[in-house]
Point group: D2
């Protein structure tokens, strides 16, 4: 075994056993990453984390994450690196830049890239990582901030199956569902596909609830009918855009602390780019991206994406600050 040494070989212990991966370097401790790192700490992993935001670092410290002053400090000596970063550009810099993850991590380290990026990005990093003797997997998550907090995410993972199996104990500390999706890049493809369906379903419910209510049906009754019938979806059951019908939904707290329109548009645009690349027609997908992009241009990027309901009712100004 090139990168684990003879000692490991002799003991006959299964390659990449859980016990070997105790030290985790965590890059990106934002809304999602912060909770994910905290859950790893709770399950007994030693997590060294880095984020450029002082506030994020402070919060992570409270949750038992060991603070690092740089990417380099967070990943030195780590068995596993998890990155949860804002976009393609930051991921590229973090992995390929000076003191980048691919170069600096120790041989045999498992690199888990969980950011939501274009599928082409993990496909570009994968061979470079392997060439340097590291393992690499794209493993984005689904389930939102609430799922991250509760350790109830779904993780979709692409790359070598043995690396997925190695990562499983770590994944299980943060999630309730783990899917091995196939070759490198398929994790992010699966995630973008699921999200595109979700966002179309959300616009469907938003425009149709508005129509039905405008046509004279009581909102609560209408949602009840839909959720007992063929129109129901995760979105109508958990995330209704009409205030007051689902107490835990962002619409019931003035559209705050949800999944904001800016982030959603990023996901939608990644999905549309992917569709262009595989030359798949997604008529509703592209139209949904346009509608939420226009919402962003109108100045509502920081509102939960379900705020579109208020815009469609002509009530947007009343809520704007």
């Amino acid at each position: 075994m090139r990168y684990r040494g003879a000692q490991w070989f002799l003991t006959g212990v299964r390659r990449y056993s859980t016990s070997n991966d105790r030290n985790i370097g965590f890059l990106g401790l934002g809304n999602m990453g912060g909770f994910m790192a905290a859950n790893l700490v709770k399950k007994g992993f030693k997590v060294r984390g880095y984020d450029p935001s002082a506030e994020a670092m402070k919060k992570a410290d409270k949750n038992g994450v060991i603070g690092a002053n740089s990417v380099a400090e967070a990943i030195d000596g780590a068995d596993v690196v998890i990155s949860m970063l804002p976009d393609d550009k930051v991921v590229l810099e973090t992995y390929l830049g000076k003191d980048g993850v691919i170069e600096r991590t120790r041989k045999g380290a498992l690199l888990i890239e969980s950011s939501t990026v274009a599928p082409t990005l993990p496909r570009q990093l994968f061979p470079l990582a392997l060439e340097k003797g590291k393992r690499f997997t794209d493993s984005p998550v689904s389930g939102g901030v609430m799922g991250a907090e509760r350790g109830a995410l779904a993780i979709m993972s692409g790359g070598h199956k043995e690396d997925f199996e190695r990562a499983l104990p770590i994944f299980k500390a943060m999630s309730t569902n783990q899917f091995y999706c196939g070759d490198i890049g398929t994790g992010i493809i699966a995630k973008l596909t699921n999200n595109l369906i979700l966002f179309i379903n959300s616009l469907a419910a938003t425009e149709c609830l508005n129509m039905g209510i405008s046509a004279g049906i009581d909102p609560k009754l209408l949602l009840n009918i839909i959720n007992s019938s063929t129109g129901r979806s995760w979105f109508t059951e958990e995330y209704c855009p009409v205030p007051g019908l689902i107490p835990t939904a962002p619409s019931s707290r003035d559209y705050k602390n949800g999944f904001n329109n800016d982030l959603m548009v990023k996901d939608l645009e990644l999905a549309c780019s992917m569709a262009l690349n595989v030359r798949s027609p997604v008529p509703l997908g592209v139209l949904t991206a346009q509608v939420y992009r226009i919402m962003q241009i109108l100045g509502y990027g920081q509102k939960d994406f379900t705020y579109l309901y208020q815009i469609m009712r002509g009530e947007a100004s009343k809520h704007k600050n």
Copy 2:
């Protein structure tokens, strides 16, 4: 009691109690109506039915429905008339034409119009029926042929609430969910709203499954991920367009015996007309209607609507007969 006379009042029997409504005239014994009438017979109602199709009449006879040779023969003496007819035009003729339901039924008869029509139609018939001393409700159903067969429909009903209550024992013989939606026309509005969401969700899942599969994810795995995640809907759980994934779905039996594209387009166009009338923006709704209308123009009107998946994959010709 205003319209039944003092005699009824003295006996203390509840107005329109179940026991009074035993004789049902059933108009339209097609795929849906045939099973609905059969379920009424099973629950002990005396059902006299009429349909212009000899085959439908023969099937109804086997199910214990008493055959009538005309609309007039079916409704004479009926306490309740249920109509399940193909479109607005037939409903208009049946209710307002020579020997029409509104004129010919006995005073106090309850007219349950269950066809899928424009919301304006029940609103037009309602006052005419009341003027003649009849009761009228729009009570369309949801749940498809399979729901009709199993007595597991949902019924959405508009009109006077007392008429909804009177109809409840009859509704319960055919359905598992019954909703009183409000004023006349709201039953059909609720149904069209639910169906529009369903059909948008169906196109969403169809185009996105195709995209994800084209991008390299295994179909079964992808559906599994979606149904464990935020992209799930009634459609992805019960009615997947990819053959072989859901054994009971039409896609798993060469797209036969489902809800055909012709009927779906009718529903979509009714919903879009309603949206125009209430001036509600439904961007995904109108686009969905366009896409399935083009499927119809391409010659696939008699296939289950999920056959669109094969068209999108460029495999349509292989399935065409």
Copy 3:
């Protein structure tokens, strides 16, 4: 000759000669109708006009239109009635209501209905008018307020060809192009078809100019390239949404005094209803209607429709009020 008498027959004068139609009753003296009536006066017709707006009546008076205090007063004794009314409802009341045009006009009068309405409306009025011995034609106009002012409209007319020919001298006083389109209703069909193309072309140019400019091309250069190339249209040549490029366009005068979004949406919705009726797929048409409907919901109904350009650039607030 039922409605001209034997005398006419004997003289051998061509039926409906120009010289017979000197007295015109004009209903609706708004932006369009006001200029049309004024042009008829200029060409020597005697025009008696009515509009519920005092301001419109005052303006008409200055242009030589004889003021009437009611519809009845305007049409009594008229050879020809022209109506230019805001919507289907007003047209219905004006023609079929108490003292309505169809009942009250003299036998043989030519009724020219020029309002933009659903094609079903003239088809409904036509036989009623003929039954009462009147002539009826749907003759909507195209060319905007500027065209109306200059007498440079296009008129598209449906009904009996002999009535079109009778109306020609009147049409020529108000327009530069006159088209006989066929049976009753085809005038309005032709107009709605032309307008739907125009409004799609307008959104096409608006979104693409915005894209090209965002991508770094100089606005004036880009419009110049388009107008020298295959992308040009009447809209890009005459009505560009970018301020300052075409001096006569509403965009160059703060989007005022153009064709306002409210009126445009009405036309779009009539066209989409027609498309639903003839079951013709118009994917860009329905989407265009949705986009401009949303503009209206956002509160810009009174701005020229090209103001959408500012909304798309995220500059809407700067122009509002």
Copy 4:
């Protein structure tokens, strides 16, 4: 250095004068490139051309183009290289591969890249060319095969202005309009923008003509009305999709020898990618791309793009071979 040395300086001749650029290497002699090269020959340029297709080479030979057996042979000693290649991949290989244009051409050579590619591609090649002492410009063309044949193209060019001026005599030999658009990449941006408008206008006219004709208007009359009114565009005047109305249009020759759907979809997808990159909403643009992509999936990629009209009328099978 013919145009950089002292000799040039002393004579005071304007830098890059026409007389210096007589030897042209032409890469890609297909439908467009073949005619462009022929026009250069006619205007007295010495053109050495290469194309992998034997048929293309034969045709070029007839037109006076000197045949080369490879890219290298075509460009050796050339003052100017023009490339008219099928897609991004071929352009990349031709410019950057072994014996690529950027490496092999002589210092000072002007490289005119006229293929329709992503705007990012010329931006990538530009600095590499300059580093090697070459000049580089993106100069795509508009006007179709007919425009290429007649020397009546429009050329949109990005890069250094002095290079545009140097190229002008060459451009004028092939085109009637030449536009300097700005920095490198703006030529292709301008072209894609114009084409996106064109293709939306084309779908607009196609769906609306179909609607108007379905609603009962004579096709010739309807086109005539549109072309006299506000709905007109280059597309309705020159390229109508209804057979027989415009004799020179592909629709009048069984949709052959036009701009085929495959090529059009490539342009549409490039434009949509660009819109995603600059984050500009193009709702009609993305929908148009989806509709023509579906046409391609249906198997009509080799037909002129206006064949969509037949598909929309449900007449596609009658024309299919």
